[in-house]
């Protein structure tokens, strides 16, 4: 059993479990949306004093912070007890494209060129992660949700606004991948 769990999980297993988590949270009386945590963290740090967007009862969202803590723990459990031997099996076409950017083929889960501590302690590497994170935080709140809130929860409820947001996610993602990354690397 453990050997099976250690293999990479196929997409249909993952999709089914994600849908299960969304339904589970509905039965807990909550709604699946991860990026709300970023607003809750701001509010918990006292951002409500300077911007009224953060002036709300963030303690009512403690459940979502607990979900976040669980997500980190889930990552730790995967790395510590369920890790397989293999590098991420991306397609050869992607390996070739990334080679042109100077990113070597997968050796683990993430490219060393971006996420190693050496990369982080270079100005470019640091700014890349900081700006990337900033865009995620700003964009998700502006759009009112991220992949979980819009692409999963919103689309499951057939919400047109969520479809527009997902189209936006892809416009941004395609611009970054095809136009900006070649300029950055």
């Amino acid at each position: 059993m453990l050997e099976i769990l250690k293999q990479p999980w196929p997409w249909y297993t993952s999709g089914a479990v994600i849908a299960f988590i969304m339904v589970l949270l509905l039965f807990f009386g909550k709604s699946f949306g991860f990026s709300s945590n970023l607003r809750v963290i701001c509010a918990a740090c006292g951002a409500g004093k300077t911007a009224k967007f953060f002036d709300f009862d963030w303690r009512s969202q403690t459940w979502n912070l607990l979900f976040l803590v669980g997500a980190v723990a889930g990552g730790y459990i995967s790395a510590e007890f369920l890790a397989g031997e293999e590098a991420v099996q991306i397609s050869q076409a992607t390996v070739n494209d990334l080679a042109q950017l100077g990113i070597s083929a997968p050796d683990g889960l993430q490219p060393e060129e971006i996420f190693s501590l050496e990369a982080l302690f270079s100005l470019k590497g640091f700014l890349l992660l900081l700006i990337g994170g900033f865009l995620i935080g700003f964009g998700s709140r502006y759009a009112g949700g991220c992949t979980s809130g819009h692409a999963i929860s919103g689309l499951s409820n057939l919400q047109l606004p969520s479809l527009i947001a997902v189209v936006g996610f892809f416009i941004g993602g395609l611009l970054m991948t095809h136009l900006l990354l070649p300029l950055i690397f």
């Binding site: 999980w9 196929p10 967007f53 723990a73 889930g74 991306i90 992607t94 494209d97 996420f115 865009l135």
Partner: protein, 137 residues
Amino acid sequence: MKGIKFILAGILFGIVMSKSEAISWFRIQEMFRFQAFHMYGIIGTAVVLGVIAVALIKKFNLRDYQGNPIVFQPKEKSVPRYLIGGTIFGLGWALTGACPGPLFVNLGHAYWAFLVAVGGAIAGTYFYGLIKDRLPH
């Protein structure tokens, strides 16, 4: 301890995102280059099953574990906020190879560089809160 169920749900989320490699920068690049079905399969399966589940919850007026009706808040109608906000989000998603969930799941894998991205995401959220009223929604 009422909160433990949320921690357990989060653990399941962290494991499934890890084991299906959805937290990998490589997989997100592959997705935005349309070079594999993997990520589309994950999101597609989740949405198809999610649509069915939500329809059933509505049809049978199912209630949550405390007996309260499960209500779905419709998203407020607009185009600019979703399109512009979504595009900004997408730029960050493709750059870091992570959306908000995976930003944190990666910390469990001891990819400490993601702490900088998490700091950026909190700063970005705060900045949105500051200038929100001046943006088209």
